[in-house]
Each structure stands twice: as structure tokens, then as C-alpha cells.
């Protein structure tokens, strides 16, 4: 049976500030969805909320996998149900070797009922699998011995996210700008990598600003987010249109959300001035 990740009327606040204002979306295994939208529209907020980041508070609505509500589950439980996020900014874990980290992760994902301290998957089997996957993704197996994301270049970090995706084989993968900040070679590697991995067993939600990732992984659905709402849904041609023309037409078609976006921007920039923080790009 095809599983589905169902988001209904999701409202999310960060530190009391409402960011998402009623997002509904359904991703089924085997489907590819693109999520686009200007900076600050709430794409990453949706991604973090899906995986259970404690800072993102659901004030209304629900997230379900196959009818099982996720709202009350922590990030670990959600991961064990088959949800995966490739982080926009992967985290450095000093002193933790990629291989050790992945061995724990895989063991838990494959035996969701495992308690800490119970056996890990056998070392030889794991090494073999990891090596094969790294070869397939064109990664130097030396990476397995490095500390997770420590001293990695931007491209290496993103590739490490793809490697984790490949090893963990989630039912639902969210990729948050996995193609940003990479040179075109690296974008190609990541795009090809994802194409190899996705298939009938995986539902994918791709957050992107670029074309390449979607050329290799053509979406059946494209969603446009503006000021915390999904304002339009179309097919792959909508993604192309947004690439070529930007969001001005979308804003014209949705004046209420465009006004909210403008209000948020001015509100936030005055706040930024008060705290003398550099404006985000």
C-alpha cells in the first residue's frame, strides 16, 4: 500500500510569532513535489516542523503519516517512522565519526523499537553497505572516518546529507535547498544522487530555487508558498515559470499574502535595526 504524508491546515509559530498560516499538502510515496517561494516565506519552517524541531510550535492543524498523527512525537520517533530532512545548513558534530554516526542511525531506523545499548548492525555488513553507497555517489570512502561535517566544504556537507538519505532510505524525504551554495558540478552530483535514490518507495518534497535539481527530478506537483501559505499548486511547468519570471506575478495574483509578506518584511527589518543584526539575504 502506498503510504502518505498528510499535512492539514498547519499553523506554526516560532517564539510566539506566527509563521505558517494554514498549510495543507499531501505527499505520497513515489511522488516528487517541489516547494518554491521567496526567502522568508516559510519553507524551512515547514521542513523543521515536519521533522519535529522543538522551536517550531504547531498551534493548529495536523501532520500524519498513514493516518498516524505526528504532532506529539519527537524528532527521533518521526525519523523512525520514515521521515527524513536534508538540512539546509547541516550541523557539525565535532569528534563523531561519520561511520559511527550512520551505524547508529541505520540501526535505529531499521529497528524502530531498538533501545539504546542494544546491538548495532554488524560492522562488516555495515561497512560493506556504506562503501558501496559511497562508491555509487562518487564519494571518497575516506569520508567515513572523518568527523561529521567538521571542516567539510559546502558541497561536501550537502553530499553527506545525500549519503545519509541513501543509507536511511526514508519513506518521505524533505530536501531543504540541498542545491544551494554549490558549484554546478556539485549540483549535478547531488541531483543525480537524488534521482538514483528516489523511486516508488520514496515521497520527496524538494525545496529549491534552482532548475537543475528539478530537471533531474521532475516534480509532479509544484507548490508556491507566500507569507506562510501555499497560494498555488501546479505541475512542473509552474516551477519553470517561477524560475524564469520570479514571484512578481504570483504576488499580483495574491495581493492579500503579498501585503502580509511586505508587512512581515518591514516589521522584521525594524526589529533587525533595533538588535543591529545583519539583514538576512
Amino acid at each position: 500500500m502506498v503510504a502518505s504524508l498528510k499535512i492539514q491546515d498547519l499553523h506554526v509559530s516560532v517564539e510566539g510569532l506566527p509563521i505558517l498560516r494554514g498549510v495543507s499538502l499531501e505527499v505520497r510515496q513515489g511522488e516528487i513535489h517541489a516547494l518554491m517561494g521567496p526567502n522568508g516565506s516559510g519553507k524551512s519552517t515547514l521542513a523543521y516542523t515536519l521533522v519535529g524541531h522543538p522551536k517550531y510550535e504547531i498551534t493548529q492543524g495536523s501532520i500524519e503519516i498513514d493516518g498516524k498523527p505526528l504532532n506529539e512525537l519527537d524528532a527521533c520517533e518521526r525519523a523512525r517512522l520514515g521521515l527524513f530532512l536534508a538540512f539546509q545548513y547541516p550541523i557539525v558534530i565535532p569528534g563523531v565519526k561519520v561511520a559511527d554516526f550512520l551505524r547508529h542511525a541505520i540501526t535505529n531506523i531499521r529497528n524502530p523499537d531498538r533501545k539504546e545499548g542494544e546491538g548495532l548492525i554488524p560492522m562488516r555488513e555495515f561497512r560493506k553497505e556504506l562503501k558501496a553507497m559511497m562508491d555509487e555517489l562518487g564519494m571518497d570512502s575516506e569520508f567515513a572516518r572523518r568527523y561529521l561535517n567538521e571542516g567539510f566544504s559546502g558541497g561536501e556537507k550537502k553530499r553527506m546529507e545525500i549519503l545519509q538519505l541513501a543509507m536511511l532510505k526514508p519513506r518521505f524525504a524533505v530536501l531543504d535547498e540541498t542545491d544551494s551554495g554549490l558549484d554546478s558540478d556539485a549540483v549535478r552530483v547531488v541531483s543525480e544522487g537524488l534521482r538514483k535514490l528516489s523511486g516508488p518507495q520514496m515521497g520527496v518534497l524538494i525545496i529549491t530555487h534552482h532548475e537543475r535539481l528539478l530537471e533531474y527530478n521532475v516534480p509532479q506537483f509544484t507548490h508556491v508558498m507566500l507569507a506562510g501559505k501555499i497560494v498555488e499548486t501546479g505541475d512542473a511547468s509552474l516551477a519553470r515559470e517561477l524560475h524564469n519570471e520570479g514571484y512578481s506575478k504570483v504576488r499580483l495574483r495574491h495581493p492579500e499574502e503579498a501585503a502580509e509578506e511586505a508587512a512581515r518584511a518591514s516589521g522584521r527589518s525594524s526589529e533587525a535595526n533595533r538588535t543591529a543584526e545583519p539583514a538576512s539575504v
Binding site: 524528532a75 527521533c76 525519523a79 547541516p90 563523531v96 554516526f101 535505529n108 531506523i109 539504546e116 568527523y147
Partner: protein, 455 residues
Amino acid sequence: MSTAIASSSAAGFSQEVFEHFLSSRHEPAWVSELRREAFAKYTEFLEQPLDPEEWKRIDLRALKPSQFHLVTTQAATEASAASGLEANADPAIGTLLADRAEFAGRVIHVDGQSAISELSEELAARGVVFGSLTQLIQTHGDLLKPYLMKRAVKHDQDRMSAWHAAFWTGGTVLYVPRNVRVEAPLYGLVALAKDKAADFSHTLVILEDGAEATLLEETTSLHATHAGLHVGGVELLLGQEARLRYVQLQNWNHRTWHLATQAGHVEKDGFLQWTVGGLGSRLAHTHQDVSLDGRGAVAQVNGVTFAINRQVISYYTQQTHRAPDTRSDLLYKDVLRDESRVIWRGMIDVEKGAPRTDGYQRNDSLLLSTTARADAIPGLEIETDDVRCTHGATVGEVDQDQILYCMCRGLSRHEAMHMIVEGFFQQVYDRIPVPAVQETLSQAVERKLGLGRDT
């Protein structure tokens, strides 16, 4: 003798106790003389306040030396050793290192008395001496006399060193002759068994020019709830081009006081790698000096500390450069939880005759709870030009983004915490290429993370 099984000296460290202790030891005159001088100093020091620079952050008021007693009867200890070591039912205590490697020799002390002492015949034939200080003072007095509390730990240094020098109960001697290289590690265990027993063990390592050795020592309590007192001394003396790896893993129970005076001296082109592990004790204070006495001498000092509950673990470290082109590199890493406290006061001293010194010290603390507290106070005192000395200290909480990232990959919060703590210590493990030590520390960390965890 066998009727004396329960006998131990009267409690405390009075003149009377000292005389009784001395008469039970049957030691050569020069040793007794040293003890008498030390006891006189100890009495003097008791009248004076402790050096505030070293002690002002530590509260010793709850320490009542008069509650503790030295065990003086060999028979008593052997009996308790035999029963204690075998009947050690609590898996959370016991030794961490003992079964992890092939050791070329072992020395085991219980309540300050030697219980087991052995060395491979091959090493003995090459002139290596490894065994109990109490025994070797009788058979190898001439060898030890120029070193024992003469060069590194001195009886008139301060109250703790004098106390130790007057009452040392036994300990471990390692002597490696010129150019002899001992490959396999040697092992020492210092255990406390009886309730309110005092251990004043002394470790004396002498490496002649060009000698090489690895000594792994650990301390443990055979019972989780017995109160204990350790007033210890460690002396590491390295000749020219000698290389020593020394590890001391302090793993007493949480009712033991640990007061240690430790010093290492390195001659020309010698290399000392010194690792301290601070896991156990109610309150631990270690005064650790490394002294680079000859041109080109190098010392690397590593520390791994994990404090929980109301433990207080304190270090006073000194890196003294006395000769040109010397290098010292100290890295301490502490993890704290609950209401525990870790204090590190570090000093690099560069004397006039030590140009081109390269000195480094760093302390990183990771707080697992908001009620724990870490103080790191680095310091430099430089009396010559043309040196490079750097120091740094960080104190931080566990990064919640790291926890989330791990959890998003299916690790539980606790497992994530464990990974991050292990990773935090990894930088120190990477400097210690002795697998037994890495494994031991990492297993100890695992155990400690499990203690009193909330689920």
C-alpha cells in the same frame, strides 16, 4: 599475625598515630628520617592557611582527617584484598582497565598495602624494576634513595605534599634502565576496600636516558558506599631522550576524597605524555606540575573529566619551562552534569633560561545541566623573550541544534547526548594512541551517562 586481621592504626594523623605507624614500617633509617622531617613540616603547615591561589575555590571543611585511618597490618589487607577483589559484585564499580590489554607487569594495592606484584621475566632480565615501593625500599634502597621525594614531589612543598611524605603507605615503582624500551604497557591498581580507610600511595617512575615505557594506573573503591581518603603522590622522572606514557585514571567512589601532588620532570629531548582521567571521588584536587628541565624536552598533558551529582573535581596545573626549545601542550576536556563543579587553574611559567619555549594550554568544558559550574582560569608568567605561549578556555552547553540533528537521524535524545559527549572527548582520545585507554575512558563515560539519567 592472623589474629590481627581487623587491626588498623588509630584514626587520624596525630603525633601518636605517626609514631605508631613509623614503628610498624621497619624501614631503612633514611626513609624514617624523611618521614620524620615530613611530619614536622606537616605539623607546621597545619598552622598555616593553604595557598589561596590554589585552594580558594575549594571547600575542604567537610573533610575530617581524624575519621580516616591507615591500615598497617599486612595480613588484614591481604585478607580484604582476596575477598574484596573477588567478591566485587557491583558491576558499576571495579576496575576499568584491568582486562583490556596484555600487561607486562601488574602491581595492585588495597588500602595502601601491596596485594599483588608481578613483572614478566623478560623485563626483569633486562633490568627493569617494577613493584611495590614498600618492598623495593628494602631491596633497592640505593637505587631509589636519590629520587624518592627528592626531585619532583618534595616533602616541604605544602601541606598535602608533607602529609603524603610523612604517611605514604606504599605504591608503585617503575625503573627502566638506560636505552631499554618496554613495549607492552604496565598496569597499576590502587584500591580502597575498608570503610574510612586512607590510601597514601606513591608512584615513582624513573626512566634512564633513552628508556621508554607506558604505565597505566587506575584508582577504584571496592564498595560504593565506603568513605575513603587518598593523599597521593606521583613522581615521573625522565632522563635524556626518555619517553614515558603515563595514564592515571581516578575512579574512586563518590565518598572518597582525592588529594594528589603529582610532578613530572623531563630532561633533554625527553617526551612525557601524561593523561589524567577524573571520574570518581567526592572531591578531588590534583596539583600537577610538569617541568621541562632540558633543552628540547616535550610534555603533552591530557585531561578527561566527567563530573556528576555534587562532585567537585579540581586541577591546579603548572607547566614550567626551564630550558631552551622546550614544548608543553596541555588539553583538558571536562563534562559536567547535575550540581557538579570542575575547576581548572592552569599556569605556564617560562623561566629566564628558556628561550624559544612553545607553551600551550586549553580547557574546554561542556555543561549538560544548567546547575553545573565550570571555572577555567589560565595564566602565563613569562620571564624571557622569544617565546610562543597561548592559552584558551571555553565553557558551553550542549548545542541543541546538534541534538536535533542526531534525533532527526533516529537517535534518541539520550543517545544523541552520548554521541556528542563522546565526540567532545574524542579530541583528547585522538592524542592518546593507547586503545585500552580510549576504550576504558569511553566505557566509563557511557556508564556515567547512564547513572541517574532521567528517562
